[in-house]
């Protein structure tokens, strides 16, 4: 089968729906909080009552422009809205307000890694603004379908890619990149389980070298990135096997069954809707001018790619830079941290060492991490100045600060008796005492038994109660021994 698969080229395009985290709906002032009691976030506009008219939420335009800029798209100046007409129980108006021939963003691309880890550009066809439907709930009441209209009218961006994916892994990487992007841009939670990021897939296969596309199948209802990947890989195999066994792929919509790991027919082409798109007469076209786009651009939050490049320039390696930018919150913490310390490498090590392992242990997000970046920076400074040892800072002090994040690290180090003695005057007494304790060992040292340095150091550390800075102490012991020679 592996060999046969090699003779075919899969052509895959993704349509992502991103639910925007605006405070109110796309065309009315209802709230949009996830998880509210059913049908509590509905006013007469989301209910589609007679005589109601949509009102454009300007935040939706701003968010679309943000994403468009981040994806290198061309932003359209004159944006018209359209109606997509179909009947469904969770669509109170009988149509969805969307954009048809004038999507707000056109073209553009997103950079991802392909299945071999190489850089690849995925080009976008368009991004357009639309509204969500309500939710039909089939599994609570055994006899009725229940309708929750809280989601009806919540703003969405639909991101349509060019058919440039070749396997499930690429689609997975693209989804992960897109989620990262919408979170950095602060326009969506990008949460597939909660439905704030949804993905439909179009797949066809063609023999390698053939120009004409194969017949396209649409796959829906995947609730995780992994399932998108699995659905694609399953569907590629299904289509190739079908063709190889003399069959023909038919145009249809399929659904992914996660339990079985396979796709099944949802509806045939003949049952496809005729959506009867036409310009939405209740909304004036929205004009997006250059100066508006520049303003959005100027206020754009930092993007993962920019931060990655910045950290590379600061001297961090690729691995560190990419881990630090994996999540926006971690990157923001790191940004904060390096505004307080110039030791970038140490800052990166702190985040990826003690901080991350603490977060992992507690299954906690960095937003909830109790120690401020400023205090971590102070710990770094204290280690660099030789005041405390690295292990004391990242061990006892770190734990103590988590217990009581209000403490001042310097005071804490004193109270915990962790300040290293690096003052030559104070140390010198211990050095003299140590050498005086073992006169015959001093003679042996002088005779060439240099390995005895450790013994004197141990004594110095003991006398100082463990607070001697080992580097400084070692230097003083050697100087003193040489003097006696």
């Amino acid at each position: 089968m592996e060999d046969i698969l090699k003779n075919y080229e899969p052509v895959i395009g993704l349509e992502i729906h991103v639910q925007l985290n605006t405070l109110s709906k796309a065309y009315s002032s209802d709230a949009t909080e996830y998880g509210a009691m059913p049908n509590t976030q509905v006013n007469m506009i989301s209910l589609g009552h007679p005589g109601t008219l949509p009102r454009v939420n300007e935040k939706v335009i701003e968010y679309a422009v943000r994403l468009g800029i981040a994806c290198n798209c061309t932003i359209r100046e004159r944006n018209e809205y359209a109606r997509k007409n179909y009947f469904y129980a969770d669509l109170p108006k009988g149509y969805q307000i969307t954009q048809d021939t004038t999507p707000i963003c056109n073209g553009g691309y997103v950079e991802i890694k392909d299945a071999d880890g190489k850089d690849k550009k995925i080009h976008l066809t368009r991004i357009h603004m639309e509204e969500d439907s309500g939710k039909s709930i089939h599994d609570i009441d055994p006899f009725n379908t229940l309708i929750d209209l809280n989601r009806a009218g919540v703003p969405l961006l639909e991101i349509v890619s060019e058919p440039e994916f070749r396997n499930g892994q690429e689609a997975y990487n693209y989804l992960a990149e897109m989620r990262k992007l919408v979170r950095y841009l602060d326009i969506s939670d990008g949460n597939m389980e909660e439905g704030s990021l949804r993905c439909d897939v179009n797949i066809s296969v063609r023999p390698v070298g053939r120009e004409k596309f194969g017949t396209k199948v649409e796959v829906k209802n995947m609730n995780s990135f992994r399932n998108v990947q699995k659905a694609i890989d399953y569907e590629i195999k299904r289509q190739v096997e079908l063709i190889e066994s003399g069959g023909e792929v038919v145009q249809q919509t399929r659904t992914f069954d996660a339990a079985r790991g396979s796709t099944m027919v949802l509806r045939a082409k003949e049952d496809a809707h005729d959506y009867r798109y036409f310009p939405e007469p209740d909304l004036q076209p929205v004009i997006v001018r250059e100066d508006y786009i520049s303003r959005v651009k100027d206020n754009l939050p930092p993007l993962p790619k920019e931060l990655f490049n910045k950290y590379r320039e600061l001297g961090l390696n690729e691995y560190d830079a990419s881990l630090l930018t994996e999540s926006k919150e971690v990157a923001l913490y790191f940004e904060n941290l390096i505004s307080h310390t110039g030791n970038y490498k140490a800052a990166a090590n702190w985040i990826m060492g003690p901080v991350k392992s603490y977060l992992n242990d507690k299954a906690m997000h960095i937003e909830a991490f109790p120690i401020t970046a400023e205090k971590i920076a102070q710990l770094i400074e204290m280690v660099d100045a030789g005041k405390v040892s690295n292990s004391a800072a990242s061990g006892e002090m770190f734990r103590a600060l988590i217990e009581n994040p209000d403490q001042d690290p310097a005071t804490l180090a004193k109270e915990m008796n962790l300040i290293q003695e690096s003052d030559a005057g104070a140390l010198m007494e211990h050095v003299h005492a140590a050498l005086a304790k073992y006169p015959e060992k001093v003679e042996e040292y002088k005779a060439g038994k240099k390995g005895l340095l450790g013994l004197f150091m141990g004594e110095v550390m003991k006398l100082s109660g463990g607070k001697a800075d080992p580097k400084v102490a070692s230097k003083l012991v050697q100087q003193e021994l040489e003097k006696q020679q």
């Binding site: 009552h49 007679p50 009947f87 209740d282």
Partner: protein, 473 residues
């Protein structure tokens, strides 16, 4: 009393010769006496009485609004919080609105009294008011005749003195044609001048709310209270509403055009043609320039109108599906039968006809040939009309090719009915303001209107000239 202008009524109210309560009682009595007209679908008697008491007190304190003393009826497609609104359809028969339309709010803020909701064609689709699910309205001037439509109840109520002013909506002539048939003033403002928030949509890019009154002055007053920007309707214009001034009776010579083809149209009643020509001569004698212009796009207007309005209607009426509110068929067993049976039982024939037509013209494969082409034709008609109005202040024509016809006569052939709108649709296709003025009286005893269309957003010129024309005739 019913035919006094508001200025006269308010004078008497201020002098204490009259109270709002007395006015309300008088009108309730007249409504009662004229029940046979079938103009009102519901009378808000209790509401009207209690508001009258409150407003009478305000008048005594000197704190009453601009419309104190004005009794208003509203077409049954305009929402009024806590009141039923059905669009004269079975599908919304027991539906109560959760909110008030912007126009109702603005009228109430100026202390108008809303006395009831008025019969109309179902979802404002019709030209005779014979397509109401609750029976036709009879013409108060001759009960065997229609009132015209779709705002027939509104025209009849004003003509019979059942209210001072009534609100209607005009998508292709639904205010002006019944105004012509019933002998009252009817104004359709510029599209976007009056908020549509709370107007049950028929065709969103054509619909506009406007008043019926017995005088241009009252129509203008109501219009000015209702007009202007509204955050709930993004198609409502931000432009400032210029106040009309009827005291300045300037005889400034106007440039008026009439469409030659309209006056030579064979469907035009001879007496109406004569009266129109007589008016033209009269205006010319007064020093106005009145000239015939050719407009070769006349024949396209009614088709353009029917393609675009039915397309929008097919989408606007999709929400009446028996699921969320309104009538649900008792025979429904699942989602699909809920849609099919509720809509089959809930909508009348004319509404179904237009939904079918609109669905067809938007269907894939037909869109370009019908909807797309009609959109282009609409642009041409608009541009060509603007060209005429760049040269002329107003365009004059009859409102309708004939006077009110007999009840039940034309209903059988929808295509004949569709020609009712031939002189009025231009204003809706282009969005321009237009009035019908009761300036004609036919030998058959029925009135007819003269139609004036003005430049977009220039209701002021249109209304001031209309008042002058009314005073001179």
């Amino acid at each position: 009393m019913a035919f006094n202008t508001l200025t006269e009524v308010q004078e008497q109210l201020r002098e204490g010769k009259l109270t709002c309560s007395a006015l309300v009682e008088e009108h309730l009595k007249r409504i009662e006496e004229n029940q046979h007209l079938n103009a009102f679908l519901e009378v808000f008697a209790h509401d009207a009485r209690s508001r009258a008491t409150v407003i009478d007190q305000k008048i005594k304190r000197g704190s009453s609004g601009k419309l104190a003393g004005m009794i208003i009826g509203i077409k049954d497609n305009i929402c009024f919080k806590g009141h039923k609104v059905s669009a004269s359809s079975r599908i919304l028969e027991d539906f109560t609105s959760l909110y008030s339309s912007t126009v109702v709010d603005r009228l109430l803020n100026e202390d108008a009294i809303i006395i009831g909701r008025l019969n109309c064609d179902e979802f404002a689709m019709g030209s005779a008011n014979e397509f109401s699910a609750f029976g036709p309205v009879k013409n108060p001037l001759d009960n065997t005749k229609v009132t015209g439509g779709s705002s027939g109840g509104s025209a009849a109520a004003v003509a019979a003195g059942l209210c001072h002013v009534a609100l209607g909506s005009d998508t292709g002539g639904s205010i002006r044609q019944p105004a012509s048939f019933c002998g009252v003033v009817g104004l359709k403002p510029t599209y976007g001048r009056v908020s549509r928030h709370g107007l049950i949509a028929f065709a969103s890019s054509f619909d506009q709310i406007g008043p019926f009154a017995t005088s241009v002055e009252d129509a203008a007053l109501i219009y000015e209270v209702m007009a202007g920007a509204d955050e709930y309707d993004s198609t409502a214009s931000q432009r400032e509403v210029e106040k009309t001034d009827f005291s300045a009776t300037s005889d400034k010579p106007m440039r008026i055009a009439f469409l030659k083809d309209a006056l030579t149209d064979p469907s035009l009643d001879a007496e109406i043609r004569e009266r129109t020509q007589e008016l033209i001569s009269q205006l010319q004698e007064k020093g106005h320039t009145v000239e015939g212009v050719s407009f070769p796009w006349m024949d396209y207007m009614v088709p353009v109108y029917y393609i675009l309005t039915t397309a929008e209607a097919s989408s606007n009426l999709a929400r009446y599906d028996g699921i969320h509110y309104g009538q649900r068929s008792e025979k429904a067993t699942d989602l699909e039968s809920t849609y099919k049976l509720s809509r089959t039982e809930g909508f009348g024939d004319e509404v179904k006809r237009r939904i079918l037509l609109g669905t067809f013209v938007l269907s894939s494969g037909y869109y370009d040939a019908y909807y797309g082409k009609a959109q282009k034709a609409r642009r041409v008609v608009k541009e060509e009309t603007e060209k005429i109005l760049a040269d002329y202040d107003l365009i004059l024509s009859p409102t309708s090719p004939h006077t009110a016809f007999e009840l039940g006569k034309k209903q059988l052939d929808p295509t004949v009915m569709y020609l009712e709108d031939i002189f009025t649709v231009q204003a809706n296709i282009c969005g321009n303001p237009a009035v019908s003025l009761p300036l004609g009286k036919h030998s058959n005893g029925m009135p007819f209107g003269i139609h004036l269309m003005g430049r977009a957003w220039d209701e002021k010129t249109l209304l001031e000239f209309s008042a002058q024309l009314m005073n001179n005739n």
